[in-house]
Symmetry: C2
Subunit: 196 residues, 2 copies
């Protein structure tokens, strides 16, 4: 049991992530988290009002760990918008493949939140859509893409690539050839988006 | 209990469909089917080697009930290929919306088979892909679409419209505006497919 030090929210989140990883989302409890920290479960509840709030905070933190990587690709104006769109969609798939492979239990926790339309899932999707909108807006500005509503076009592209990022398709992400499939969908979408 | 008459496979399928509808896929048993028919469960097994085989045959029959409607739309050369592609994709969504709304228990039985990669699901997808390939081949032949491999292009279009036909998205098919979303995806895909 670790020594008792003033408990902060970060320590609770780190311990919860570890417990989720070891026990899975169905079995992990706040009591397990408190025990790992050497505190009462009341001490945990002081930081997070409910098991649900704690689970959401942990999953959000876990998802956000790759946010800067993806945001960086989306914002890299050294890469032409068409190529950037393709790279970003591949990077989203790569990040999600790694998450499910390396952290199946935390991915399962995310899946439960997504199915319940938790703000963690809607926030994650809004994040990704914002990045995609920025790429498409850059392409509209430099004349690559034909659109007068980058956000609407981003939603269409996001819908048409659901197989490669929507949690309902997670079982398909390890299929051999999934990257080639994404590449073919990208090519068709880019044909449709680009000015001729 | 109905009178005993020589039992044929069709009668077994009809009774099983009815039992599935009343009890749901988790609770329906071969004994229920036999009781409804007034026969022994051995008599049912004479037609279908296992509960799984029976469930697959019932679900295939239930899915195939709309096959001709969709095949008819795909094959209707009076409608130009671009418009036909859009109409067909909308018709697939409409058929699936109706199936889940009118027959949630049979839809659930299909979902179980799809998750297990049953031949019922792969056969259904192959059917739809064949219809889509025919539309795209017609478009390639008359110069509407730019492709030298209609089957490959059909797979790309099918993947890009997964949200509107893949069983993993069934919960989203009753969303208001889902038809408009499909229409927007169709428009972008058609922009990409069509010769300018």
């Amino acid at each position: 049991m670790p020594p008792r030090t003033p408990l902060d929210a970060d320590a609770v989140l780190a311990a919860t992530e570890d417990i989720l990883r070891r026990h899975g989302p169905d079995k992990a409890t706040v009591v397990d988290v408190a025990r790992a920290l050497g505190v009462s479960h009341a001490a945990v509840y002081k930081h997070f009002a409910s098991k649900q709030a704690l689970r959401e905070a942990v999953t959000r933190r876990w998802l956000d760990r790759n946010r800067d990587t993806l945001a960086g690709i989306a914002a890299d104006r050294a890469v032409p918008p068409a190529q950037r769109l393709r790279s970003w969609l591949h990077a989203v798939l790569t990040v999600k493949q790694a998450k499910i492979r390396e952290d199946p239990e935390l991915f399962a926790a995310y899946g439960i939140l997504a199915a319940a339309h938790s703000s963690v899932a809607t926030g994650h999707v809004a994040d990704l859509l914002g990045q995609l909108t920025a790429i498409i807006a850059d392409g509209a500005a430099d004349g690559t893409f034909r659109t007068d509503d980058a956000a609407a076009t981003a939603r269409v592209v996001f819908t048409a690539t659901a197989r490669f990022h929507h949690v309902a398709h997670a079982a398909e992400w390890q299929n051999p050839g999934i990257e080639d499939e994404l590449d073919e969908v990208c090519s068709l979408l880019l044909e449709g988006l680009q000015n001729n």
